[in-house]
């Protein structure tokens, strides 16, 4: 594999992923601001951003930490939000599985929604790509997305400390989640899962230690999966 071909795949990845900077940058900014609002200093905010690099779960952890939920519940809920990445990891095996251990370890760190989605689309569209090209493309995607995620959340953390308390930024957390979830409700099973999730959260809110959250999530997942089976069965009947 020539260096030129690798370089061009890398740049191609950066280019194809660049529109997502428009999503990542404001979201990172918002995380920084909200983390500052919750009382995290710059080091703590950046520690979380760099070690976790997964927006939704970072917001989940923040929300539960501010509610003084038990540490185990905070970790379990925030990890649950990231479980979808096991699917990404599995989907990348046929494409990147032959890379060296170190390279795969690095690729795992940079596995975020945007880089995964863009890379897998490319791999499926162009099966003739070599392993080196696929890797270069993948890291190109990460190279444009991740620095913006780090940088913007740092800026947000610094700027956030200058924003006075009376801007109701407490409510930025739920608003962010609503904004994240609403576009996901594209199919009936997703809608069913979300509804069961809300209803269970309300019915079970008497439970201690935020246990309602984990139980509501389990019921909602099962409901989504069942709804999917039902929808598929109906399609077959027609």
């Amino acid at each position: 594999m020539s260096r030129a071909a690798k370089k061009s795949a890398f740049l191609r990845g950066m280019w194809d992923c660049s529109p997502f900077v428009l999503v990542i940058a404001p979201f990172g900014l918002l995380f920084g601001v909200v983390a500052g609002e919750a009382g995290l200093n710059l080091l703590e905010t950046m520690g979380m951003t760099v070690l976790v690099i997964a927006g939704a779960s970072q917001f989940t952890a923040l929300a539960l930490l501010s509610e003084q939920a038990p540490t185990l519940v905070v970790i379990a809920a925030a990890l649950a939000v990231n479980l979808r990445m096991a699917m990404y990891s599995a989907a990348l095996v046929p494409h990147l599985g032959k890379a060296s251990f170190g390279t795969r370890a690095l690729a795992a760190y940079f596995m975020v929604d945007q880089s995964f989605a863009v890379a897998i689309k490319k791999y499926e569209a162009e099966p003739s790509l070599t392993l080196a090209q696929k890797l270069a493309y993948y890291f190109g995607c990460a190279a444009i997305i991740c620095p913006f995620w780090y940088g913007c959340s740092a800026i947000g953390a610094v700027v956030g400390q200058a924003i006075p308390k009376d801007y109701s930024l407490d409510f930025a957390i739920p608003i962010c989640f609503i904004a994240l979830v609403a576009p996901m409700l594209r199919s009936l099973p997703h809608l069913v899962a979300a509804l069961v999730s809300i209803v269970c959260a309300l019915l079970l809110s008497w439970m201690p230690y935020n246990l309602w959250l984990l139980i509501a999530a389990l019921f909602a997942m099962a409901a989504g999966a069942q709804a999917e089976l039902w929808v598929e069965a109906r399609k077959l009947c027609k």
């Binding site: 649950a80 409510f171 899962a193 959260a201």
Partner: protein
């Protein structure tokens, strides 16, 4: 309420490690084995199962108002939801929701 520093770092490190292991799982360890169909079917709904349950109490009983339902926040949440569903735009929904909140707080005494 102040978050305890030790707790915070325990959460940051465990969440970082745990998330990394999830990302590394198949690519690094399990390899080519398929995730069973029924597990995949459940995994598809994890995000929509966890997040709505997490938000619901924050919207209906916001800590900032001492747990009293707040019309401004309820309307802001609905607007953010409507914009998110209609335009599939995360940032659009955040902007619409927060603007509505400020507008409502300005209009309501």
């Amino acid at each position: 309420m102040q978050i305890d520093t030790t707790t915070l770092w325990i959460v940051i490190v465990s969440l970082g490690l745990g998330t990394y292991l999830i990302r590394f799982s198949f690519l690094g360890i399990v390899g080519d084995r398929e995730i069973p169909e029924w597990v995949q079917r459940h995994l598809r709904y994890v995000a929509v199962a966890v997040l709505p349950a997490l938000i619901t109490p924050l919207v209906i009983w916001p800590p900032a108002t001492g747990g009293e339902p707040d019309p401004a926040r309820l309307v802001a949440a609905l607007v953010a939801f409507a914009v998110g569903v209609r335009f599939s735009s995360v940032i659009g929904a955040v902007v619409a929701g927060m603007s509505t909140l400020y507008l409502m707080q300005y209009l309501l005494p």
